[in-house]
Homo-oligomer: 157 residues x 12
């Protein structure tokens, strides 16, 4: 089937913005799965704080995933968020298996957030001329992830 | 690290219930990703109804994932819900890529639900003597998925 | 039209569970109509307490009716809750016409609840092997009706 | 027992208003049962829209049943809403048994609503001089049923 | 000061509707004070039911007082709800002083409601041609007071 | 296309009620636009009070527009609320352009409300025999606009 | 009937606290009626602000009336809040009849509040040794009325 | 371990206030258990009113227990609310075992409340100079229990 | 009257941003009226979905209208949203009169949205240097309209 | 007094289920008192997390106490939850007096939960044939306590 | 301008109460700023608990600031809460600059609370005869700050 | 202590954005204190409107303070919002002491807002290349303050 959803962007703009959004969708789904994995497997004195903070991270990541995917559709690009795609294309650092101490969880989340923020900052630069609407969305995702990055660093000192 | 979370189940009971719960966690995460993929890529006359119904399915699947994973932890078994694990172990049928017509989406969801229900019914039988608490949770998950199975069938006639 | 809704139950299981659910739907609709009739026609010193308690009974009965009927659909059995069917098949004891004193209303409700609980306990036994999901629903209906049975008895002493 | 609830209406006014309200109570209870029957048995492409719209109809009918029955009590007339009375006296057209396609359901609801509206308009005329308070209630019930009649017609074109 | 609020009613219409509304305001304020007096002084086995039911009556009477008074202003008539006016012009039967048994309270409320309903029915007739908007408000006040009249009678049997 | 929405009103009744409703829809949309224009352009000492009171007026007018338009559809008459129709057929007095002092705004709103109330009172008379359900709706719109007319007059004294 | 509600206060304490509370009930009911009268009859440039502020005053006065009356009952004293009692015993200054300019309303409310605060301060002194629980309630009523006294003064400058 | 929580009260003040609060905690926990026992075992015509009123009493007693215990901690005194301490030190009258008629329950609650109020009034006197903040809390607990004492007496007449 | 609202923008910047905002206000009001017209006149199989989706569009358009108009005031430009101005200046494509099939409504909404998005994208470019605050608002309006454009396209395939 | 509440269970079934429920009521009340004691006396770096988590435990235990006690009444068995009964019959391990470090509190809660879970698992086995409704309730209590057992273990590592 | 807000207090009483309230306003504003400073700069393992607990402290302090300032206005004294006044007159101990470890933050908050409580206790004594209404407010502020003082001490052990 | 919070910005970018955010935090805290001071000291005919509008300003300023301070932390810069820092570095114009007429308050707020907006516009320019995420936040703060600037100007005409 030829693409049934059209856009007022030209093909080059659409390609640039679409690539940025598809990569963001994949990164954020992986971040959600990593945070849930941590939510279930964390142990240690700070269990309750970390357990609750991880669900706030999950909630933010899920909302941004939906916004990024629906922005892709809005410019006529079909998003792909299936398990195999995520397992193969994600830019996150991942997380180990099994019960894990709270300090290790905290370090892991800080590392994953830093990796995703670096990639998002590149996409902000890349989409500036191609599509300012997409760039605006990437800026607001980055702002929130950087705030979370501070909070997780602060409790890891 | 030796297992830091103990349980009053004996090792055999713990193994049976733990396996059932771990498999359920993986199946339900995959169902969530499939439903979200469908939510973004559906097109056709019934777009709005299907788009909304998929988010109800996502919401149910996410709640059950959390309950199954936290039941695993409650009996001392560490759950694994990472992307690679899901991509490899899921018992769902999956979904194709790209824009997809509503009728095809409906058939795909019915098929995925039927596959997961079959697997859940086996686990209900398997956990009956090992751990009635786990069995009770699997029964309530199955009841809801069977209700959704009817609703998706009904709109596919 | 051949049955358009399929199920993973075999025909015998489907028959047993379906009969139990259809009979439950009819009983509960009649209970709702009886309780509403009482709600409008009660008189006496305890009018306000009884009037309000009857609406709580109506609310519980309506919710259970829907759950039983939708469980029937979920296993591929079409429920029948039409007025003529209810008038003919209900296992409730019914209620007299016209203005009725509060003590008489209370006794009538206790009697109707006892009759329905007896029938539900038989169905719990009947569905145990046929479909544990259906049995689970019947148990929760029975638990609530037995609690109401106590409350109505307690105020009739 | 002689009538324990008095009224400031004279006997003829009370008879006219009471008859109109009793007939309305019976019609509306039957409408509720018909709509619930349809809610459970509908199948087809528009399953979700029809399934949801039927519950809105049920909700409206239940509220009006209560208002009509309590208006009867307010003028000293005991209402009768028991299953056998409904099965015998209802002016609705009824509904067939078993799984039913959405278009057929829609036509059935339109027909039942039209039948009830006709009867209500007669009662509006009949109660004008007997009791303007009762007439006012019947007018507001009719207004809402006519709005629903339009909506069900509109989706059946 | 000459009347600063004008109206599209002619002077005769304004006089008829204004008198009906002013009398209604006074009656309803007195009903509020009577019900509060009863709320504080009731004693007896049914204390709790009567105590709570009186506050529902107060709430209804306060809302209707405001609607009647603001309808008066809307047709350019200044309402008067001061204590001395209420003490002098009210058509309610009043209530005795001191602690009072629940049955006596109930009888007193039924009597006061009946007196006010009689007066309202006369005003419904009087305003029919003068101002249908005012009549409509008086009908809805009467409908609610008659419903309360039934409820208080029902618990006094 | 021939009229797809039928009604139980005869053609003459339908014409009378439909004309009244269509004119009401147009008047109320214009009132909404006038009030919003005032909301944005008001200046002066009472800016805040007037600014907020205008949004209450907008909210009431929008609700009534919807009720009038849907009543038209309920009796089989297609409503027309497009910009050109409103600009041509509205019976409101309109409002000047640019920043406007609060006292001038208040006077303008009072004048527009008075004009619309006059037209509504004519329609109440016209629809009395044609369709009491439509008349009932027009009465309730008039009651609310007259209350607002008082409030706006009261603050303009 | 001898006093059916007992208290742990001795007769002299009960008399002192009871008199203070009965006088407070009467004053506050009158304040409510005065504020409602003002709410309906105010006209002028500040109509909206004054109209809204009066309803806040009514709401506070109603809550305190209930607290004072129920404190009286709690120490075995029957409160009297009937219209004739209020008209005769109130210590408020009252309010004139008919439409009244906003500035005049403001001055009247300030005067009434000042009169009631003076009387409350005397009762605070009087109840200090008799019943600290009653004194505590009178203090909180005074605190709120003095806050309102400031606000009404502030807008009258 | 030496006391880790300091206070600005001197040791004598701390002892007086701490004793009053510890005794209050014990009394209120026992009141909660007595009221729950009554809530489950009450029978009779007024079952529903008494059953509900008891839960309001439980809710008030639980809130006050927490406030008293946390006030103790705030002045550096560790509270003791364990079952054995309550069983040994409570000043309440207790309640008999088994199903109990509503009138007997009412009398029992009145008696228990009276006993606790007497003890609280002594503590109000005792803490006046030692700690006005603690006294203030005891006054508000007493005020509420005296209100409940009236209500339970009122329904026992 | 000379312009009473000043701004920190220079005259050229104010002119550019003001023109963009005024044109946006007019376009969005027209979009609101078009969507409401469609909401009332739609007929066909997908009546309910389209009927509901149109009210979501109305709600979004109304919020953006208010934001654009208040941004104009914030930079000292008086907005004009009167009916005649909208009828004359709107850049929307409009909508036909009378009952309209759902597919035709869908196509019409897609066309109107596309026209408005094109005009908004020009204004985003035009305001970039003149006023980034205004540009930011136009970007967020465009983002939401493009999302709606996708959704309406998706259901029109 | 002979037993006024009847049941459809035979005497042996009633005895088995009643004993299980009475023991559960006692255990859960003690758990509530232990958790509140801990809530007030905990000190240490994790004060806030532990303090809050204890109130969640209290809330869960209170709800289950009520459900177990009301299930006992529903099968005609009078529950006993008085302080002396709890102090004597509880199967919990108890808690020491005075200020206690957070780690010690955590260990104490884990120990108390483990003791109660063991006893509940025995009762699940005991009630399976006697009363599946009671068993179902005990299963859901156990499921929640085991989840809490994991969470308290996880933070104690 | 001479004082436009009058009071029923004599000048000496007004001076005593006014000084106490003004000093309280200043102390509480400074406490708010200190707590926000800590909220942003805290680091360490207990970051999340401390970060959240600080916002609860801010919220309490802001509410009390407003109550103290409005009590000052209610007795005719103009409060002063400007930055320079706070910087000069505050009795708090202050807080250091830059990122700060959680334990150090906790100690700082305990110290600041202790300093303010000491000053408040002096003002409670000073206002006892001058104005019991003001004293009552200072008592409730002190009660809450002492509760917070315990909580912050408890987590600093 | 070396900086414990890292950032992906380079040192120059971090310095530019950090300076802009720190200055914004100080300005906004001062704005909050000024608005609260005005809220308490305003007198005059428009007291109520101005009193309420000032609390809206306070609420907006507090939210923005938190966002600016937490954005600073997110890029590794410790914010400083202590009283002495605010008193020394604020760019606001300040406000006089004592009771102040409403018109004077309005002028003062307009002046303070204008001063802060000027400074914010400079920071928008300064951060454009250094950090678009920070610039985006400053733009949204400016947009809201400019809207408030208009509203306060509008009521001062």
């Amino acid at each position: 089937m030829s693409n049934p959803i059209t856009s007022t962007l030209d093909p080059a703009q659409q390609k640039t913005a679409g690539d940025a959004l598809q990569a963001t969708v994949v990164d954020l789904i992986d971040l959600t799965l990593i945070a849930k994995q941590a939510h279930w497997n964390v142990i240690g004195q700070n269990f309750r704080s970390v357990h609750l903070a991880l669900d706030e991270l999950v909630s933010a990541a899920r909302d941004f995933t939906d916004e990024a995917a629906e922005r892709a559709t809005a410019i006529g690009v079909s998003p792909d968020g299936r398990a195999a795609t995520v397992a193969q294309d994600s830019g996150a650092k991942g997380i180990g298996e099994g019960w894990t101490k709270d300090a290790e969880i905290t370090a892991s989340i800080v590392g994953n957030l830093a990796a995703l923020i670096d990639r998002l900052r590149e996409r902000i630069a890349a989409t500036e001329t191609a599509d300012p609407v997409t760039q605006d969305l990437l800026i607001s995702i980055t702002a929130r992830l950087e705030q979370l990055h501070w909070m997780w660093q602060a409790q890891g000192v």
